[in-house]
Symmetry: C2
Subunit: 202 residues, 2 copies
DNA sequence: TAGGGCATGTACCAATTGGTACACTCGCGA
DNA sequence: TCGCGAGTGTACCAATTGGTACATGCCCTA
């Protein structure tokens, strides 16, 4: 009764190889959303920006909802890639490693992506179904590697979890501060203060 | 040419006394928005929920935009009231004062308001004009009193600003964690860890 | 009691939105 | 060469939206 046309590819699109058009579109969509916002996205606006008709977006993703799901998922994936890509060379002190990570995280070129993160968080907290999945991994997915780092750095396993959770929260809080105020120096100083407390050095 | 009807009150509505209907409406609106979200608010939905026709909302606020501005402002005001209302009795150690503040801040009854805060942040970061004003006070308005508390507690004025900024960011980060995961115990433990580092006690 | 102004409701409008129907093109296998 | 199916565009639809026009009721004052 529906879909006399459009036998959507629906192909799971082997994540590595690009579902060709589909993956290309979702990547362009994430770029667009990172730049223009997630809340008031319209298929027509997006389509015009990335050079397809809104018809094609429906064709490839079935519905706006599904497209948003993929945008959120891809955005999360990018966030994760970000962490995994900065393979901090060993030999660095934990404090210096954290400093490096903070430095890369606050690269102005990532501002759009960070803003998108907070924007999606807001929608997820509100229960928007396409954004809700991020709540699952919002903390837990990051806690594991951070805990491992804590333990590796010699922290008591009993407190490593708390320390990891604290560090994650602080980074996010300061990131929000930075995005809101743009006061890089002030936020960096606060981060230095945190590192001093956290790693006890200085 | 416009407004043959509707000589909007526009009265500044002496904040204390309620602009009568207008203030009453905006308060109901904030409650509704705290419960149902800010992003996809429609005048009709809101009106139906609080018992007026969407026509009246336009009548009292001129436009949806202006209503949103007032909602944001009132929401901010509530946030501020929250802080000023908890006049922490003197004699408490700074750590205990902070603990008390955290306890009150994470009261489940405030969850809606907190969620609204993060939601509005997301929109403000994206440049939505009705939410943008919050960016101004997002950090600075809180820094002043926190710095004063730091100095009063004997902190070096040179680092008080950094410590205040750090504390604010950490609280917000952990609040986001709590809202996302609901893991009260875990977040509380992380906060305890922070207080230990921050105030050096224990 | 008459009248004027505020508050409110009903009906409506134009714009935008997600989604659909159908027509067209192009490349490839028989 | 024929035809078929995937990819794409154009035109359209129904729903929802913010906002407006107009009519009505209510209260207060003259």
């Amino acid at each position: 009764m529906v879909n006399t046309d459009d036998s959507h590819p629906e192909g799971e699109a082997a994540p590595g190889t690009d579902g060709d058009r589909r993956s290309q579109l979702v990547n362009a969509a994430v770029d667009y959303v990172a730049a223009h916002g997630f809340a008031d996205l319209s298929l027509r606006g997006l389509g015009a920006a990335i050079g397809v008709s809104h018809r094609m977006l429906i064709h490839y993703f079935g519905s706006k909802e599904q497209l948003l799901v993929e945008i959120v998922r891809t955005s999360e994936q990018r966030q994760r890639d970000l962490l995994s890509r900065l393979r901090l060379e060993p030999g660095l002190s934990p404090a210096d490693a954290a400093r490096l990570l903070w430095q890369q995280l606050t690269d102005p070129r990532l501002a759009g992506q960070e803003r998108l993160f907070f924007e999606i968080c807001g929608h997820a907290l509100r229960g928007r179904p396409e954004a809700a999945p991020v709540l699952e991994g919002l903390v837990n997915d990051w806690l594991e590697p951070l805990m491992a780092a804590e333990v590796a750095a010699g922290a008591d396993p009993a407190v490593a979890r708390n320390r990891a959770r604290l560090g994650l929260a602080t980074v996010r809080g300061l990131l929000l501060d930075l995005l809101a105020t743009g006061d890089r120096a002030g936020v960096d100083a606060a981060m230095e203060e945190f590192l001093r407390l956290y790693y006890g050095s200085k």
